[in-house]
């Protein structure tokens, strides 16, 4: 999956547990776990907004794009 979720890194920085984040943003702990492991197909803006608000970070701190080597863009 080219989009890598680094939520676990941010949780570690903020010293917060997945369970506490789930409770504060109103989604299940299972979904937080799936998000951390990248096993989701997408994330809603309101969920992303809630995570950024609670963890005091930017969306870019949570999501990174790592293209597949075969799909790496050619430089202009």
């Amino acid at each position: 999956m080219p989009i890598v979720v680094s939520l676990d890194v941010m949780l570690a920085r903020r010293k917060m547990r997945s369970r506490d984040l789930a409770a504060r943003i109103g989604i299940t702990e299972q979904n937080v776990s799936l998000l951390k492991s990248g096993k989701v197909k997408g994330i809603r803006f309101d969920t992303l907004e809630a995570i950024c608000r609670v963890l005091e970070c930017q969306p870019g701190d949570l999501l990174e794009w790592h293209p597949d080597p075969a799909e790496a863009p050619s430089s202009d």
């Binding site: 109103g26 989604i27 979904n31 799936l34 989701v40 197909k41 809603r44 309101d46």
Partner: protein, 191 residues
Amino acid sequence: MTLSDTTLSPAVTPEAALRARIGWLCHLLRLAAVAYAVWVFVLIALHWSDGPEVTRAYSHWLRATLTEVPPAHRLGGFLVHMVSWGLLVGACVAMWRLFSGFLAGRVFTLDAALTLRRLALFGLASEAADMIGRPLLSVLVSLHMPPGQRHLGFFFRTDDLLNLMFLGGLLALAQVFKVAAEIAEDNAAIV
């Protein structure tokens, strides 16, 4: 998808709201499924156990004068009806499972769609067995008559077409439901 993975507070999940709206209907339909299967069995058993009634009813249907149908032939008729009834029970079991799943919050799931399809297929099979069984029944109830007075009867009612339309529509709806369940499953993977 169980409708519980949302950003709403736990007190107002769509699952709980849906169950509050249709829970009573799901309970009612489950009871109706059981009652209907039992009711039909009792009617079939009472019908075939009443020799004079069988003779009268089939004399009327075949527009013939039948003498009393022997018990062995009536047993055969009962068994023919049991084929249709057995398939009807399959439909009722599927109905029970479908609405039990709804009560447990398993609404937009692939399993629910497949159960709905199973319900429709069993219903169609039961209806087909009933229609195919009628000529067989006409032979059974007239088999004891002299060779020139035996009958092979075909009989269709408007209810047959209504049932086929309804069950065919249910089968189509099951396919739509399956696609909806797949979309819901995709959406459930979006947190």
